[in-house]
Amino acid sequence: MFVQFTTWDIVRNLLEAGRWTLALSLIAFVLGGLVGLAILFARISKNRLLQALTKGYIEVFQGTPLLMQLFIVFFGLSLLGVDVSPWIAAAVGLTLFTSAYLAEIWRGCVESVPRGQWEASASLALSYTQQMRYVVLPQALRIAIAPTVGFSVQVVKGTAVTSIIGFAELTKTGSMLANATFQPFLVFGLVAAGYFILCYPLSLYAKSLERKFHVAR
């Protein structure tokens, strides 16, 4: 009645589940990055209303667990009669979450560009857009790389909570396998290795970018 799993059965299933983790992470990065950029510009704009709205947005999505955001998007909208597929719910939930964090990280980076740089570029009669484009953003970008990549590692791991809306990604598959095989150490050891393989290259990439920009300075 209990099926015997070979180690290869476990590895094979985890590899397949890893593809979900990868796909969900990519969605979160791309959409979260784009929306995050929009939120960033609204957050640092001179319009008070935009500032307040985006501040609220960031606080809500940074201050509540992603699991519960996903739960509310997927099941809550259903109660209102809006039937969303798990993919849409995951995309929306992960985008809201990722964009809130990225916008806040990037705002910190923009603000760490010394005021003198703004003043100097203003005295050169650059417009706001030009100041941003040529003076502030290039400098902020350099500071932003390490924390952005650092956060992206958290996004990869954060996709685990999508199991609440039915995705059998790496962690969920791990717990399914552990429950079927009674070999938690083997299974969760492999799960940890899976995340490490996905995340470590990101960390290495961040390091090399950091080094490159430090040399450039």
Binding site: L49, S78, G81, V82, S163, A168, S175, M176, N179, A180
Partner: protein, 268 residues
């Protein structure tokens, strides 16, 4: 400021109105007969466990298998429709039902008054042979002797509901997320006893030699029920009819033999 605020507020109102409209529409259309919909679509969507052997766990192909899955297929066959299995966890199984994303929940559900206020239950479809297990050298003959002891259990499972009722107040009940965590807690000595199904305990004894699970006493047999959305009387009647027939013609007994290694109790 004011010029930017007005259009924004207006669009916010429009959005809210739109949401409200779609909500009433949605609720209206959702208030249909689930049984009729199942027949119309030709599929029965059933929420089943994937981390709770022997009722539902995965095979090497990662597809769910177990008592609950066989039960879902049996109901689908009787209805003459295809079965779509939705793997769920103890956290999201009921929301899948209440939001209409699943037609039935067959997930070894026990019932209590609070739960019955939220969803409807069929008649019993499965027995639950479970007990308290522990090391060979420790004596424990009945629930009363659990006073001052630590017992691990899977949160929200039938054995959790029952044990909470019968254990003395001084018992520490540690409630873990799933069977795997409960069993690991026992095997690594984090808890003295666990409450679980007979079949699970036997499988653990087969597969690992870390720490033996010896049956101490049986928890009162408390059966499982199929969960159905509130007020779906036609569907409930149909499911009850199918369960009654399956009890008569022996097909439910075959499922019990297959997954629980025991015949279906006469009084179920």
């Amino acid at each position: 400021m004011t010029t930017t605020r007005r259009p924004f507020l207006r669009s916010l109102c429009a959005l809210a109105a739109g949401l409200a409209a779609s909500a009433t529409l949605g609720l209206a259309s959702a208030h249909a007969d689930v049984l009729a919909n199942v027949h119309k679509n030709g599929t029965l969507r059933v929420a089943v466990p994937q981390d709770f052997p022997p009722f539902g766990s995965v095979g090497t192909d990662l597809k769910p298998r177990g008592y609950d899955i066989d039960m879902a297929n049996l109901i689908g066959k009787e209805l003459g429709v295809k079965v779509e299995l939705i793997p769920v966890t103890s956290t999201n199984r009921v929301p899948f039902l209440t939001t209409g994303k699943a037609d039935l929940v067959i997930s070894s559900l026990g019932k209590n008054a609070e739960r019955e206020a939220v969803i409807d239950f069929s008649t019993a479809y499965a027995p639950f042979f479970n007990g308290v297990f522990g090391p060979t050298d420790v004596k424990l003959a009945q629930a009363g002797e659990l006073a001052g002891k630590t017992v691990g259990v899977t949160r929200g499972a039938v054995e959790d509901l029952e044990l909470t009722k019968i254990a003395p107040a001084s018992t520490t009940i540690k409630r873990f997320e799933d069977n795997n965590a409960t069993i690991s807690a026992y095997l690594t000595g984090q808890v003295q006893f666990i409450a679980t199904g007979n079949v699970v305990a036997a499988a653990v004894n087969d597969m690992t030699k870390l720490r033996r699970l010896d049956a101490k006493f049986l928890i009162k047999n408390s059966p499982c029920y199929v969960g159905i959305a509130k007020g779906e009387t036609a569907l409930t009647a149909k499911v009850n009819e199918i369960i009654a027939k399956a009890k008569q013609d022996g097909s439910l007994d075959a499922i019990a033999q297959r997954w629980l290694n025991a015949p279906l109790p006469k009084d179920l």
